[in-house]
Amino acid sequence: MPTVYIPSLMQSLTGGKQTVQVEGSTVRQVVEALEQSYPGMRARLVDSGRIKPNISVAIDGEVTTLGMLQKVGENSEVHFLPAIGGGSHNRHGG
């Protein structure tokens, strides 16, 4: 199962757990599985069916541009990170 690293500011939803393992082969499935086990997760991560603008998803260390559609491997690490620019549209460097 993929391992999800829970950001410290969201660990109140997981009872302090820093990592959890959930089923899922896409980010969408991982988010739904998180919501099942830890209610409130979806609302923190998703808006109108998409990852919130100020959050990035990294799979195995690579930030994805596919959002909820990104495939997740059986042994993948999933990280939810603050989007780098925090709302700017030039967040990736100069």
């Binding site: 500011l9 260390g61 541009t65 990170l81 603050p82 620019g85 709302g87």
Partner: protein
């Protein structure tokens, strides 16, 4: 500690190439050196009008009224626009540009202020007239009534309870959760790894310091130009200087509320960007003026406009605390990063948080980042945005730890260096990286062991990390019957990327770099391509060229098979020639086969669109010698060595140029450059005479050492090279100043006044 013997360039890439790694003359060289290359300000067309923007004289003010009647009456004035000419915006609408997002109201308000002026220089209105002089005179006749408000100018000020609010409706967000309280604090994030308290308990020595950096500008030599023609058929044409034509198209579509298909953006040659030419400023305004007048309208910024009306990089407050054992093992690190976003949310504090400790393998880390709006221009990217602010703090604290532990500062860094498998505090695990190799190259460089003689002289070192990005790129290649190829790509060429992209296609096809004709296309003529930024172009658009060339190769193999009346599977391409795998007599060069395309089925066009991951991070390190004048505090850089892991240098001369350019900008940031702000938020040094960027007379020869630790995520091992090099100069110079004087400089710039003041404090 093992070190490798010094070599001018450390090549750890085993594969050899015919074109990649050579130094051909750039394809756009003749146009550039003869002055024939066309830049945005050169653009002209029939009936062209000239625009001028009126900007706010106040850093924070409510706009009570705008009276344009006197300006409209001036002969030669054809149109005036204000924020009322922009589409109405609902609050909370987020626009997605594929590689980032921004609230639409903020995006539009930064083009023309609707209710409040949020920084001195904020655009309020614009005029189109028959000449630039009439436009300027008319702009001065526009009567704007303001209610002047108290400005907030730094992140710590903005975070104070009771600080004036830049946006009354802004609520703090903490990773998807908003608070109810209005605040200048737009967002807060925290990265954690291990147990910070336990880590500090294990430490024998702890160093903690606070640092401040001020606003600086990218300083591109070409001020922003833009011309727009809103044609009678409804299509909008834009000619501008940009790092990303598609970002201009998409931004204008959102700001003006028209489909992207109605906009064509033509990227002209670009006179520098460094991150500052990604956002749009003039283009939507010129478009509105063109729509009103029916003419093309050109607006060109002055240098003062660039300083006050575009996006500099933020000032910041950074506190770093690091603990280590007596043997040099770093046990814990904590960073508090508060960055100025400028007038709207979106500072590069997130990138600062990613990079602040990423050169080190530390078990226990907490990183807190705060994005704070202030009454200054909305910050934009500037070469490794956010990372230099953080490294200025971390690398000085590491230096102080080395001093107190009695360790060589490079040995301390090597002992704790990040390597493949190291987990960063923000989560990801490093793939193959070159941090150790860069440090070893620094340690074994003759500069590091050279005697440093004379009083008031010191040597400093530092290292920095930038993560680099991939993103989307498109490319097409058509084969000419003389054996050359035309390569069309969408990445604007800032630093020689026509050459570095063309060379990757040439390598695949076994032809010379000179046999490629690269051109940068407009948004109607090439597939979507993200910005030239994030050190991505040679990596990602180079990859697109590699794939397009592979497509050409596959089609050419089929043609060779047609000519020889054999199966395509029996044909191979090797060293620039098509060969039969079974009949050694059957062989044809690329050029020979290209000459037979018309008789074997017609033209061949290869194409590719990529969106690669695996950009691979880049590490850069500096060794710097300085001499400090004890009377005036002036710092002279005596010797400067820049070392960087570049993966594979496609064109080593341009890699060296990037390293020297980033170093020069870092030296300017370290010693001189700053927005010198008045108490009411007015920048008081808005010319390059007063905003002191280094000239060639201020700089030593910057020696470069290319380290090549191949990036496994790229066909040729490329890592982006454009940004990491600006990170180490400020702390390396600070550490050198400390070595020379014993003074620990905690603010930028370290100009004569700052050094002298630090000396006074030390003597008290």
């Amino acid at each position: 500690m093992t070190t490798t013997a010094y070599e001018p360039n450390m090549v750890l890439v085993n594969e050899t190439f015919d074109v990649v790694g050579t130094r051909p003359i750039r394809h756009d060289g003749a146009d550039k050196v003869t002055g024939r290359a066309l830049y945005g300000a050169d653009f002209d067309t029939a009936g062209l009008l000239h625009g001028k923007i009126l900007r706010s004289p106040h850093a924070h003010a409510r706009i009570k009224s705008i009276d344009t009647s006197k300006a409209e009456a001036l002969p030669g004035v054809l149109a005036i626009v204000t924020a009322k000419d922009l589409p109405t915006t609902k609050a909370g609408v987020i626009v997605d540009f594929g590689e980032g997002n921004m609230e639409l109201k903020y995006l539009r308000d930064n083009i023309l202020a609707s209710d409040k002026a949020l920084y001195k220089g904020h655009a309020i209105a614009a005029v189109a007239a028959s000449s630039p002089h009439v436009a300027e005179e008319a702009a001065a006749l526009i009567d704007v009534q303001y209610e002047v408000l108290e400005p907030v100018l730094t992140a710590p000020e903005g975070m104070k309870e009771g600080a004036p609010l830049v946006h009354e409706d802004l609520k703090t967000e903490e990773l998807g959760e908003k608070t109810d309280k209005s605040s200048n604090l737009a967002s807060h994030f925290r990265h954690t790894k291990g147990d910070l308290d336990q880590g500090f308990q294990e430490a024998d020595i702890v160093v903690e310091r606070e640092f401040n950096t001020v606003t600086v500008h990218q300083g591109y030599i070409e001020p922003h130009p833009a011309t727009a023609l809103w044609n009678q058929d409804g299509r909008l044409h834009i000619w501008c200087s940009t790092q990303g034509a598609f970002v201009v198209r998409d931004s204008c579509a959102q700001i003006l509320d028209i489909p992207v298909s109605q906009i064509r953006v033509v990227p002209m040659e670009i006179g520098g960007g460094f991150g500052g030419k990604i956002n749009v400023y003039l283009e939507p305004v010129a478009a509105l003026l063109s729509k009103k007048t029916g003419h093309a309208v050109k607006i060109v910024m002055s240098r003062a406009d660039c300083f006050e009306g575009t996006g500099p990089t933020p000032g910041s407050y950074v506190k770093v605390k690091i603990g280590a054992k007596n043997d040099g093992t770093i046990t814990a690190a904590h960073a508090y990063l508060a960055y100025e976003a400028g007038a709207y949310p979106g500072s590069p504090v997130g990138a600062g948080g990613m990079c602040v400790f990423s050169a080190y393998d530390i078990d226990n880390v907490v990183i807190d980042g705060y994005d704070v709006v202030v009454n200054k221009p909305k910050t934009a990217a500037y070469r490794a945005p956010g990372a230099p602010n953080a490294a200025f703090a971390t690398e000085q604290v590491v230096d102080e730890l080395a001093n107190k532990l009695g360790m060589d500062p490079i040995d301390l860094r090597l002992k704790n260096a990040a390597k493949e498998g190291t987990r960063r505090a923000d989560g990801p695990v490093f793939p193959r990286i070159g941090c150790v190799e860069v440090l070893e190259a620094m340690k074994s460089h003759p500069h590091y062991s050279a005697p440093l003689e004379g009083p008031n002289r010191g040597r400093g070192v530092s290292i920095g990390f930038w993560f680099n990005i991939g993103l989307a790129s498109s490319c097409s290649i058509s084969v000419n019957d003389d054996g050359t190829i035309n390569l069309v790509e969408g990445s604007t060429d800032i630093g020689g990327t026509r050459a570095s992209i063309a060379m990757q296609a040439a390598e695949v096809l076994g032809i010379a770099a000179e046999d490629v004709r690269p051109s940068v296309a407009d948004t109607d003529s090439v597939g979507y391509t993200a910005v030239t930024g994030g050190s991505r172009t040679t990596f990602a658009t180079g990859w697109a060229a590699y794939e397009a060339a592979q497509d050409v190769k596959r089609q050419m193999i089929e043609r060779a098979a047609t000519v020889w009346e054999v199966d395509a599977d029996s044909v191979e391409f090797d060293k620039g020639a098509f060969k039969s795998k079974t009949d050694p007599e059957l062989s044809m060069s690329f050029k020979d086969l290209a000459g037979r395309l018309s008789s074997t089925g017609g033209p061949i066009v290869g194409r590719a669109a990529v969106n690669p991951q695996g950009a691979g991070g880049s590490f850069a390190g500096n060794i710097v010698d300085v001499e400090v004048d004890p009377e005036t505090g002036k710092v002279e850089v005596l010797r400067f060595t820049a070392v960087q892991d570049v993966g594979k240098a496609i064109h080593p001369s341009y890699v060296e140029g990037q390293m020297q350019g980033g170093s020069a900008q870092g030296i300017g940031w370290a010693l001189n450059e700053e927005y010198y702000m008045g108490e009411q938020g007015q920048m008081t040094n808005t010319s390059l005479l007063d905003y002191r960027m280094p000239t060639s007379l201020d700089l030593p020869m910057i020696d470069t050492v290319i380290v090549e630790v191949a990036n496994p995520g790229h066909p040729f091992g490329v890592r982006g090279v454009g940004e990491a090099n600006i990170i180490p100069p400020t702390p390396a110079i600070a550490n050198a100043i400390h070595s020379a004087t014993g003074l620990r400089l905690e603010r930028l710039p370290m100009n004569p006044g700052a050094v002298t003041e630090a000396g006074w404090k030390q003597r008290k």
